[in-house]
Symmetry: C2
Subunit: 352 residues, 2 copies
C-alpha cells in the first residue's frame, strides 16, 4: 500500500525531483535556455531519457498561450492540382481551429524567382511559426528560404523542392521515379505494332524547363532506353500545359504517325490530349498515361481513354505539410513514414 509505483505518467516535477534540481532548471534545459552548467544539463537530459519522459503536448500547447501561425505560399492560376491542395487545406479548418492553428494563404507567381523570393522575404517579418512553399529552385529563392530559417521559422517545401536550401522538410514525390514508373507502365502495357514498325511512343510535356517535368522526362527516357529500347520514342512535344495547344499538337502527330502505340503526357493539358485521341478514333488502341487524379482524369479512366493516372495524393500533401510544420514547431519528431508522399498508380479498378 502507500504510494506504490503506480505507472502514472511522469511530469516535469518528477523529473526535477529525480534529477535533484528544481523545476526551473528542468524548464531551462528543456527549452535550451541559458544559465545552466553543461554538467547539470547532461544530468537532467539523462533523467529525461532514462524515464523516456515526454512532456504532455496538451499541457504545453495550452501553456504557451499564443496560437501558431503558418503561411502557405501557393501559385497563382488555375492549376487543378494546386487547387485541390488548397481545397483540402480548407477542409481542415475545424481541425485547425480546435488546435488554435491558423493558416494564411499567400498566392503569388511562384514561377518568377524574384517575385517568389520577394513574397518569402515579406513573410520573414511576419513572425510566422512556419511556412510551406511551392518552391522554384533558384538562387534567390534559396536565399529567401534560408532567411526564413534564420529568422527562426520552420520551412517546408511543397510539391517542388529546393534541395540546396536549408528547408527543414520536403513534402512531395520523387519526380524521376514518377517518370520511370510511367515508362515502365507504357513499356509493359503496349501491344507490339501491327505493321512493320515495332511501334512508336509519343511524349508531350508542358515545358522542358519546368523542373518536375524535366525530371519526369529524364526518368521516363531512362527506363525506355534501358528496358524498352525496341520501342521508338518520338521527339518531345511541348504543350505548355494548355488543352488547346496540346490537342493540336497531338492531332497533328497522330496524323503523321499511324503506328503510335503509346502516349505519355508529363504535365497538364490531359483533356486536350484525350480529345485528340478520341477524335482520331484511336483512344482504345493507344496506351495513354497521364498525371494526377481530377474529375476529368477519373472520367477518362472509367471510359478507357486513359489507361493509367500517376498521381500524388493532394489531400495527403496538404495534411502532411501541416503536420510536419506543427511537429517542427513543437520540436517533436516527425513520423517520416507517415509524411512520405507515394507515387500512386491509379487504374480504373483501384480508384479511390
Amino acid at each position: 500500500m502507500a504510494e506504490d509505483t503506480v505507472s502514472a505518467a511522469l511530469t516535469l516535477k518528477d523529473i526535477a525531483r529525480e534529477a535533484g534540481v528544481s523545476l526551473a532548471t528542468v524548464d531551462r534545459v528543456l527549452h535550451n535556455r541559458p544559465g545552466v552548467r553543461p554538467d547539470t544539463v547532461r544530468r537532467v537530459q539523462e533523467t529525461i531519457a532514462r524515464n523516456s519522459f515526454q512532456p504532455h503536448v496538451a499541457a504545453a500547447e495550452l501553456a504557451r498561450g499564443r496560437a501558431r501561425r503558418f503561411a502557405f505560399v501557393m501559385p497563382l492560376g488555375s492549376n487543378p492540382f494546386m487547387q485541390q491542395i488548397q481545397a483540402y487545406l480548407s477542409e481542415m479548418s475545424a481541425w485547425l481551429s480546435a488546435r488554435r492553428l491558423s493558416i494564411e494563404m499567400v498566392i503569388t507567381d511562384v514561377f518568377d524567382p524574384s517575385v517568389l523570393a520577394a513574397s518569402l522575404e515579406e513573410l520573414a517579418g511576419g513572425n510566422y511559426d512556419g511556412v510551406a512553399v511551392v518552391a522554384l529552385d533558384h538562387p534567390s529563392v534559396r536565399a529567401a528560404i534560408n532567411d526564413l530559417v534564420d529568422a527562426g521559422g520552420k520551412v517546408v517545401t511543397l510539391v517542388s523542392d529546393v534541395p540546396s536550401s536549408r528547408r527543414h522538410h520536403y513534402v512531395g514525390i520523387d519526380n524521376i521515379a514518377a517518370g520511370r514508373t510511367a515508362g515502365a507502365l507504357i513499356g509493359r502495357l503496349v501491344r507490339p505494332g501491327y505493321g512493320s514498325s515495332p511501334g512508336k511512343i509519343a511524349i508531350i510535356a508542358g515545358s522542358q524547363s519546368l523542373r518536375d517535368h524535366a525530371e519526369r522526362i529524364f526518368g521516363f527516357n531512362q527506363v525506355m532506353a534501358s528496358e524498352f529500347s525496341h520501342l521508338d520514342i518520338l521527339p518531345l512535344l511541348e504543350g505548355r500545359d494548355e488543352d488547346d495547344r496540346s490537342e493540336q499538337l497531338i492531332s497533328q502527330l497522330l496524323g503523321e504517325h499511324p503506328d503510335i502505340i503509346g502516349l505519355y503526357n508529363v504535365g497538364a493539358g490531359t483533356q486536350g490530349v484525350a480529345k485528340a485521341l478520341t477524335e482520331a478514333g484511336r483512344d482504345k488502341q493507344i496506351v495513354f498515361i497521364a498525371h494526377d487524379l481530377t474529375a476529368m482524369t477519373r472520367k477518362l479512366l472509367l471510359q478507357g481513354t486513359l489507361d493509367v493516372a500517376i498521381s500524388q495524393n493532394p489531400g495527403h500533401e496538404a495534411r502532411a505539410a501541416v503536420r510536419v510544420l506543427l511537429s517542427l514547431a513543437r520540436n517533436e519528431p516527425i513520423l517520416s513514414e507517415q509524411e512520405k508522399i507515394r507515387i500512386d498508380i491509379l487504374m480504373r479498378d483501384n480508384l479511390p
Copy 2:
C-alpha cells in the same frame, strides 16, 4: 481602440456570455448532461454554431485528467502483414505517450469465432475508451462488438470488417476492388501465348473460406470474365498460405501446363510460389502478381520475378486506427479522406 473585434479565439466563457447563460450550463450542453431545458440547449448550440466555436482540444485533454486506453485485438501467429501493423504501432510510442494515450495488445485466435468473441467480451469490462479489432465476420463476434459499443466504447474494425455490426468505423481496403485490380493488371500485362492456346492464367489462394481471399477471388474472376474472356483461367489452388505447400502446388501446375502466362497469388506463401517459378525457369515469362509489401516481395519486385505487388499500407492502417479511435473518443469529426486506406499498386519503380 478599446476592445475591438480582435479575432482572438473564443472560449467557453465567451459562448456563455453571448448565449446569456452561465459557464455551467454551456458545459452541461456540451457534454449532454441532463438538467437543461430543451429550449436552452438549442440556444446554446446555436451560439456555438453561429460562432463556429471549437473547444480547445489541448485544454480539454488536459482537464479530463485520466489517460485514454485503447486495446488492439490482433491475430496470433507470424502473419507478416499483421506483424508490420504491430511494428508501426510500437513506432508510435513516443507520439502516444506525449498525448497520454496507451495501447494494449491483445493477441488471440481471431479465426475462431468463439475465442475472438470471448476476448472481446473480456474487454467490455476493462473500461477501455476504444478497441480496434481484426474481426472475423460471425454472429457471435458481431454480438460481442455490439456489446462493446453498448458499454460506451468506440470500436474500429481493422483489415477485416464486420459490416453488420454497429462498429463505428472500418479501417481497411475493399478486397473485391483489390481482386479486380489484380485481374485488370494480369489481363493487360500478359503477352499472348506462343503456341495454339491464347494462354492460361493460374490462381492460388490461402483458402476460399477466408473472407478477404474469397472477395479478392470474386473481384478477379469478375474482371477476367467480363474483359479478358479469351484467357483461360485454371481452377483455383489452395495453398493454405504456406510457402512449402504453395511451392509444391505451383511446381506441379507448371509441369502440367507449359502455356501459363499469368499467375495471381491471392494470399500469403508468395516466397514458395516465387521459388517454384524460378526453379522452373519461367519467372521472366510469366506475369506474377501477389499481395503486400514485405522485404521479400520487395526483393522479388526488384529482381523481376514479381511484376506487381498489390498492397495496403500497414503503417497507414495502424495510424489511421489510432487516429480514428482518438477522434471518436473526443467526439471529434473524422477526416475520412485521410483515414481511407488505398489499394496500392507497387511496381519496381514506385517502391516507397
